[in-house]
């Protein structure tokens, strides 16, 4: 089955360009004519993961692998890693710095929001070795 892969670089603390990778992914899916609801879900999750990387991670990449059946988004960073993944998955839990909270981030809803909007989600993280968030979305209402 033909598929398309793309990778975007995401830079730590770069709030000016934060979100651009997710917009690219969103527009790629639109040009492939996926149903709007699926595009919306991928966009929301991609953005949450991208912002996590900008705020907590280190420099890293957002990659997307698309075919007619499913969309896989991998967000990989080389930052400090998550100490307790289970705790991080709880709504309202956040380690965001005060300065980020002042910008309206850090409500502790990022990872739970990804969980809610994706069909499959796997986080692998090791303290000191970065984090890998893998999200899978199945294309049920095929429009491609």
């Amino acid at each position: 089955m033909p598929s398309i892969q793309k990778t975007f670089h995401v830079t730590k603390n770069d709030f000016i360009h934060a979100g651009e990778a997710s917009i690219h992914v969103k527009n790629l899916l639109k040009s492939l004519n996926y149903v709007p609801d699926l595009v919306r879900r991928v966009a929301i999750c991609g953005y949450e993961a991208e912002m996590n990387l900008v705020m907590h991670g280190g420099d890293g990449e957002l990659s997307v692998d698309v075919n007619a059946d499913r969309i896989i988004v991998d967000v990989i960073d080389h930052g400090q890693g998550i100490a307790d993944v289970e705790l991080a998955m709880q709504e309202g839990y956040s380690t965001a710095k005060d300065e980020y909270r002042e910008m309206g981030f850090g409500a502790g809803m990022g990872l739970p929001n990804i969980k809610k909007n994706s069909d499959e989600m796997v986080i692998t993280s090791e303290q000191g070795n970065g984090t890998h968030v893998k999200m899978v979305f199945f294309n049920k209402g095929l429009n491609v």
Binding site: K26, A43, Y47
Partner: protein
Amino acid sequence: MKDEKGGPAHCFVHFESDLCTGCGHCIKRCPTKAIRVRNNKAVIRHSLCIGCGECIRICENGAITASTSELDSLHSDKITIALVSPVLYSQFPGVLPKDVLLGLKNMGFTHAVDMSYYFEMFQWATAEYISRNRKTGESPWPLISPVCPVVLRLIVCRFPSLLPHVHPIMRPVALMARDVMSQFKAHYKIEDHDILLYYINPCPSKMGIPKKELGQGGIHSTGALGINDIYAELSRQIKHTEKSDKIPFAQAGFEYEQCTSGGGLLWSMSGGEAEATGLDKTLAVAGLNETITYLEKIELGLFNDIEYIEFRTCREGCIGGALNAVDKYLAKSAALKMAKTLGVGTRLNRERVLRLYDSNWFFPKISPQELKKLGGKKEKTFSFDELRKIEEIVGIIDGKDCGACGSPDCRTFAEDILRGDASPHECVYLKIRGITDENILKKIKS
């Protein structure tokens, strides 16, 4: 690509090929990539045009004009009614709105009706809808203002997932056209086709009001005139007055011509509509690029803590429309002064508005999905295989989006090649590297 012939709903601009030098400035400005240069002349796909007027602004040769109506019919035996956007008043600094309306009548309109009354209607209905939506959750936040038709077409064309966010109340101009028609029909005891409505327009996007949008049908004819079309003649007709006596708010009645208010003038500027909602959680965004950036972000799930967003694709709001005669900053100064002179206030009977609200008077009989038919169609999408080939061609070109080929950027050029709308030899980058049509076409067929 041929210059398509479209119906009135799909024909906002007109390209005069004799005046076009093929400079290509317009192809880069178009937000829906509807324009190409072919055989050294700009051509447009009307089906993709959303009527934003950016190409009119950028063209140095005056080759692009708005497709407005002809004024000839003013002196026919029909009743002609000007529907006046308050933007018009901002074009005549120091002149009272009632004198501008009088000037229109001197020009030959049977009646000139001010829109601010309908802005108030819209604003009441909006406040009501939002307060009910807090309980029902019928529409997702943020609601997107339906007032600027370019924004609606932009959403249909590029952001279809945001259609459920579009505020479902009828636009003030549509409320106005429907109401004015029925009031004057009853007054003169005549039929629809004996009345001609003309919308006096600051932008090319509102060329007539589609019957479908009015919901009730039966509107025989609505035309549109650009402010710049009538400016010279209207200036001659307006009697300047030194007196700046306040105009009393007329009660809802037949005296439309008296119904101007300062509030209406505020609507012509960015932020006026958001302010009029009286809500805290609102935003006002103006400018085409700014609007696109915000729509992109709403699609990422941002701004869901905002209840209502006013979008205008023209800088500074409607006073920045491409068909105005006076620069937006001068117009803004004039409008603010006049708003102060006239005073801002409301004059509607809330209970009457609520009765109308509950009788569904404010709701169009079309769903967001049907909005698609009102203009701004989506380009045909590509299959996976085609998209891979497009990516591959973009990689081979490895260009700088120069636009010399006549397409706005390398990617669109590659898409045009796949559509059979362009040939590889038109690209200077491919030519320099000696890559021929055959090399590329072989890749497409593989």
